[in-house]
Every structure is written in structure tokens, then in C-alpha cells.
């Protein structure tokens, strides 16, 4: 662009950066491939795929037993469980909300812990930082890897749950919480939308975990902080006297994700939850970026 006017002194620098930059697409692909090759990633994904199977089997077995009935004060997940019998497409909704409470955030945090703190623990991060790659770019590639795997985890659960639901529980549409029955494809659309919204929530947790990950050399610290954080937030969210605090808690909107199976679908809670997650993502990545550029090699 301005090559003609660039001074001779600046010329080599420009050339060096240009030449050393690998294509971004290749970097991102190799990062994801690298993460997928770790046995623990595969084990985690495999176990997540098992969750819907376990839930589906236990529900289809329990269906023959006398109704225990969720009480009126039960949680959202319990209420959805009451709709599961013979209504297979609710299974992905049930399983996604169930795993969002703890499993999915933990898996996201695990990958975020591996991304920076894990590299730091094995000494790999030092090499990466010495390489002529900007720190922001390094973080972006790492964040992309974590985000892709979170999405993959949610997709694995959803696909497994849809298949299990249809095979074990049956049903060719979705009986909504409002008593209406949706046809097959719109039902699948709702499941896909929920999967997307759940992914964004997991991204939010992973973004904060990534920020913690940049501050420590021990991946266990990240996992401990994430676990402790989720438990603390759950407790805070359950305390009625702290209702003024609830709107800033990331998990405040997780229960309202169940709105996806109401008909017509109320969008307020879903939109608010999405915005809240985006705020957390912004905060998490900003803090991670700040730490990455100021961190010593």
C-alpha cells in the first residue's frame, strides 16, 4: 500500500513480519488438530457423548415405574424431565441444560487451562512466546482452539442426544412445555438454536478460564478456580436475598434457556443470557490479552 514511500530503514522490518507469518487458517487448523490429538480431549468428548445415552436409558427404564412427579418447586431440569417420556426430541434439551450446570463449563475450563497454563507448565509457552509471532495472535489462535472444542463438545452431546432420544424414547415431533406439538424439523431447529446458545455460555466460562490461565503456570489452578467459581455462583444464584446481584452472574440466565421449549418461544430471557455471556467473553478475552502482552517471556 505505502511501499513506495516507506524509508529504507523500515523496509527489512516489514519484510520480516510478512515472511514469518504463517497463513492464519493453517495455524488454526493445526491448533485444533493438536488439541484433538490429546487423549484426554478424546476421552472427554467420548464421556460427554455417553451422558445422553445414560440419561435416555435411565428415563426409558423409569418410564415403566410409578410416577414420582417433580414438585412445583423443582428446578428447570426436573420440570423438563417430566416431559421426556415418549418425547425424544426433549432429550437434547434436557441433557444440554443438565450438562451446562457443571460438566460443560468444566470441560471448557479444562481446555482453557491446557491452552496457556498447560503450555507454561511444560515449557512450551516460552518457545511460543520467543517465536516471532505477536502475543495477541498467539492468544487468538489458542482462544480459537478452545472455542472450537467447546462447540464440538456441545455438538457431540446434541447429536448423541437427538439419536438416543429418537431411538430410546421415540416421538416424531416435540411436545412443548406449553402443551403444543411441534413438527420434526422445527423441533430440530429449536435444538440447534439451544445448542448454539449453550455453546456461547460455555465460551463465556472458557473465556474467563482462559484469562485465569494466562495468570498462572499451573493448569490445576485454572480448573480449581473454575470449579470453585461455578459452585460459588450457583450458591449465590440460589440465595434470594442476593437477588440484586443475580443479573451480573453468568449462570443467572442458564435456567431461562429452558424457554426454548415453550411455545410461542419467549425471547427476552434468551437474548439477555446471550448478551450477558458476550459481556463475560469480552471481559475474559480482554483480561487474557492484557496479561499476555505484559507477561515476561
Amino acid at each position: 500500500m505505502t511501499t513506495g514511500t516507506v524509508g529504507a530503514a523500515a523496509m527489512p522490518a516489514v519484510l520480516t513480519t510478512t515472511r514469518s507469518r504463517a497463513p492464519l487458517g493453517r495455524l488454526l487448523r493445526s491448533e485444533v488438530r493438536f488439541m484433538l490429538r490429546r487423549p484426554r480431549t478424546l476421552v472427554a468428548l467420548g464421556l460427554l457423548a455417553l451422558v445422553p445415552v445414560i440419561a435416555g436409558v435411565s428415563i426409558s427404564v423409569a418410564a415403566g415405574m410409578p410416577d414420582q412427579g417433580a414438585g412445583p418447586g423443582g428446578s428447570a431440569v426436573e420440570g423438563i424431565a417430566a416431559l421426556l417420556e415418549g418425547n425424544g426430541l426433549i432429550l437434547p434439551v434436557f441433557v444440554l441444560l443438565l450438562t451446562l450446570a457443571m460438566l460443560l463449563p468444566l470441560v471448557g475450563a479444562m481446555w482453557a487451562a491446557d491452552a496457556i497454563a498447560g503450555e507454561a507448565a511444560t515449557g512450551g509457552l516460552r518457545n511460543l512466546m520467543l517465536a516471532p509471532v505477536s502475543r495477541a495472535r498467539l492468544l487468538a489462535v489458542k482462544a480459537f482452539g478452545v472455542a472450537t472444542l467447546c462447540l464440538l463438545a456441545v455438538v457431540v452431546i446434541s447429536v448423541s442426544a437427538v439419536l438416543c432420544g429418537l431411538v430410546l424414547l421415540g416421538g416424531d415431533g416435540m411436545l412443548t412445555m406449553s402443551g403444543t406439538t411441534l413438527p420434526f424439523w422445527p423441533s430440530l431447529g429449536r435444538v440447534a438454536l439451544l445448542a448454539l446458545l449453550v455453546t456461547v455460555q460455555v465460551w463465556a466460562v472458557a473465556a474467563v478460564a482462559l484469562a485465569i490461565s494466562t495468570w498462572t503456570d499451573h493448569p490445576l489452578v485454572v480448573l480449581a478456580a473454575a470449579t470453585g467459581g461455578i459452585i460459588t455462583f450457583t450458591v449465590l444464584n440460589a440465595l434470594e436475598s442476593l437477588s440484586w446481584l443475580h443479573p451480573v452472574l453468568i449462570n443467572a440466565s442458564w435456567e431461562s434457556l429452558g424457554d426454548i421449549i415453550r411455545d410461542p418461544m419467549p425471547t427476552d430471557g434468551l437474548t439477555e443470557g446471550l448478551l450477558r455471556a458476550l459481556c463475560y467473553i469480552l471481559i475474559g478475552y480482554s483480561l487474557a490479552l492484557a496479561r499476555m502482552v505484559s507477561r515476561d517471556g
Binding site: 412445583p72 416431559l83 411436545l175 403444543t180 415453550r262 419467549p266 478475552y285 492484557a290
Partner: protein, 365 residues
């Protein structure tokens, strides 16, 4: 290092924006907005327009806050449980969706039948009613609840003879400009209430919010109103209902309503009579035999009820013992009203001080 500084300031800006976004999400919308300017209107004219206004086709969300000091059985939204979504086509068809935490009760009135869907039990209750008879006299309780427009209209109509009615400026409810109609008791009325405030939509004249304020209270003891309101034609499919396959359908006659289980049942079987009129109206009745000695059911009213305790013991621990011509009973006073329950099952309730309730109980046979 110029780039490092730039990156750091970007990161700082990102953090600040994220935190600001969270705070923005947490703060209620429309706070601190100036009241809208609306043409002046006289109190009588406003009341007339409210009473004569046709409810248009609309959709909205109703929220209820109560600070009565006691749980009200059967009222949806008690303890801020969930929002109530209402739809109506303006021609007698309604849809009310009461969302709980992971469950939903949907009431659909398709013009000739009221369908009540309960997601927890996957049950459908079917209540045919005579469309020609109109209005809601024979409709089940569920289809009448959660309708602030009708509730407010009935209250305005019943109370205007005993109240001074003024228009107290304008405000915004559900993002719509409203007139505030205030009914306060005439000095001769013996009541614990200070005023009833009805927010009337300036355009459709539909009451959008109802607030009940008690003496010495700054915050309303009861507030029912739309948090979202949109008028306009509604999808006809909203007012149709087909029981889903596998759902248990029971048919009931309208006169069995109000129905339900547990506390609602008890209230439903009350043999109601009223004493007095206007603001000091007292509802009296007799509880079904054994209602006071049966153990309380689990689950409902969980703030107050200790499992296994019978209602009489509960009353004893909550209320003050009084005796008179009516026998012995317990008086429970809240910010807005007083209830008297005698040991033999007579009940008197009103928005009045203790003395008026006792007077009413003495009239009971």
C-alpha cells in the same frame, strides 16, 4: 513499545465495556425517565373511558409482586415465580401461559372451551362453557386470573362510589404512556389501605397496572401489571388447542371451579358471604369440616408451612388469639388486611383493621 501500549489500552477498554454491559443488563430499563406529556383529562372522564373501553387484541407479559406478608394460595406469580404471558384476540378468546421454573400451565379459551394444560403432570383439563352467556361469570378461575385489565376494571367499578377518584399525572408502564388513576378511601371508610393506583393506557384505555398501597407503606403491597404490552392482531393458532397424544384429559363442569388441589380446594369450598361494602368489605365464610385439623400438604406455601403441622396449630403460631361472641379464634394481621379464623372454622377476611373483622365474625351464624 507502542504496540504493547495500544494492545493494553484495547484490553482495558474491552474490560470496561464488558463490565458496563453487565451493569446495564442488571439495571432496570426506563429508570429515571421523565413522565410523558399527555393531554389533561378529568377523573370522571377517565373512569368512564376505562369502563367502556373494549379490550383490543393484544399480547403481553404480566408480572406480579406481592408484599402482603402472607403467601396467597392459588395466585400465580406469588413469590415472583415466573412471568405470565397473555394473549387475547379481543373477541373472547384468550391464552394465558403461567411459566414456572421448568414447568408451565397454559390456559386457552377458544371461545367455547377452556383448556388447561399442566406440563408437570402432562394433564389437560377441559371445561366447556357457554359462549353465548358471554363474559366470564361461568369460566374457571384460571382464565380469569392474571388479567390485570379486567381486575382493575372491576375494582374501579366497585370502589368508585366509596372513594375519591383523582388523576395523578402520567407515567410509563410497559413502555407505554399511561394516566395514573388514584382511588383513595373516603374518610368514613375503615380500611388499612391508603390508595389503589391504576395505570391506564393513554391510547387503548386498558388498565396496564394495578397497585395497592397500604397505610404507612411506601412500596405497593400488591402490584400486578404488564411488563410488556403490544396491541394488534394475534395469530389465530394461539387460541386453538388440541390435547397432545398421551396426555390425560379430564372434563369438568364450569361450576366446579375454582378448583385445584390442596389450599385452593379449601378456598373453593368456602361458603362465601360478604359483610359491609366499599373499602371495608369483609368476606366471611365457613371452612369445610376437618380443614383445620388435617395435616398441611407438602410443597405449597413452603415459606410458612411446617410439614405435619395442622392449620390450627399454624394459626396459633402465626396469629393472635381473640375471643368474643363468635367463640375463640386467631387474628392474623398483615400490612393490607386482617384475617380471623375461629376454632370452629369460621373465616372473615378484609382490607380492614382487626375490629371490623371481629364485627363481621359476630354477624356469622
Amino acid at each position: 513499545m507502542e504496540t504493547k501500549k495500544t494492545v493494553l489500552s484495547v484490553a482495558a477498554a474491552g474490560t470496561v465495556a464488558g463490565v458496563a454491559g453487565l451493569v446495564l443488563l442488571a439495571s432496570p430499563a426506563g429508570a429515571g425517565e421523565a413522565p410523558p406529556a399527555l393531554p389533561a383529562i378529568g377523573a370522571d372522564e377517565l373512569v368512564e373511558s376505562v369502563l367502556s373501553a373494549e379490550v383490543p387484541a393484544l399480547s403481553g407479559t404480566v408480572a406480579m409482586e406481592n408484599d402482603l406478608g402472607l403467601p396467597i394460595p392459588g395466585l400465580p406469580g406469588t413469590a415472583g415465580e415466573g412471568d405470565i404471558r397473555v394473549f387475547t384476540d379481543g373477541q373472547g378468546k384468550h391464552r394465558v401461559q403461567m411459566a414456572g421454573n421448568g414447568n408451565e400451565t397454559t390456559v386457552i379459551d377458544d371461545g367455547s372451551t377452556v383448556w388447561i394444560w399442566n406440563s408437570t403432570e402432562r394433564s389437560v383439563t377441559k371445561v366447556p362453557h357457554d359462549a353465548a352467556k358471554g363474559e366470564h361469570a361461568d369460566k374457571p378461575l384460571e382464565s380469569r386470573l392474571a388479567d390485570p385489565a379486567t381486575a382493575a376494571r372491576e375494582i374501579v367499578n366497585a370502589m368508585r362510589a366509596h372513594s375519591s377518584v383523582v388523576v395523578d399525572g402520567t407515567a410509563r408502564v410497559a413502555e407505554r404512556p399511561v394516566y395514573q388513576l388514584v382511588l383513595s378511601p373516603k374518610p368514613t371508610e375503615r380500611t388499612l389501605l391508603r390508595e389503589v393506583r391504576v395505570s391506564v393506557d393513554s391510547e387503548t384505555r386498558v388498565p396496564l397496572q394495578l397497585e395497592v398501597l397500604a397505610n404507612g407503606q411506601a412500596d405497593p403491597a400488591l402490584k400486578v401489571g404488564f411488563t410488556e404490552f403490544a396491541d394488534g392482531t394475534q395469530d389465530a393458532g394461539l387460541f386453538r388447542f388440541t390435547p397432545p397424544a398421551g396426555a390425560e384429559v379430564t372434563e369438568e363442569k364450569p361450576d366446579q371451579a375454582p378448583r385445584g388441589r390442596t389450599p385452593e380446594d379449601v378456598f373453593g369450598e368456602l361458603d362465601f358471604a360478604t359483610y359491609g361494602e366499599g373499602w371495608d368489605i369483609v368476606a366471611t365464610g365457613t371452612l369445610p369440616e376437618g380443614a383445620l385439623t388435617m395435616p398441611t400438604p407438602r410443597g405449597e406455601g413452603r415459606d410458612l408451612v411446617v410439614e405435619g403441622q395442622n392449620p390450627l396449630e399454624l394459626l396459633g403460631s402465626l396469629g393472635k388469639q381473640v375471643s368474643g361472641e363468635f367463640g375463640t379464634g386467631y387474628v392474623i394481621e398483615t400490612k393490607v388486611g386482617t384475617a380471623l379464623v375461629t376454632e370452629d372454622g369460621k373465616v372473615a377476611v378484609g382490607f380492614v383493621p382487626e375490629q371490623v373483622v371481629i364485627e363481621a365474625a359476630e354477624q356469622l351464624k
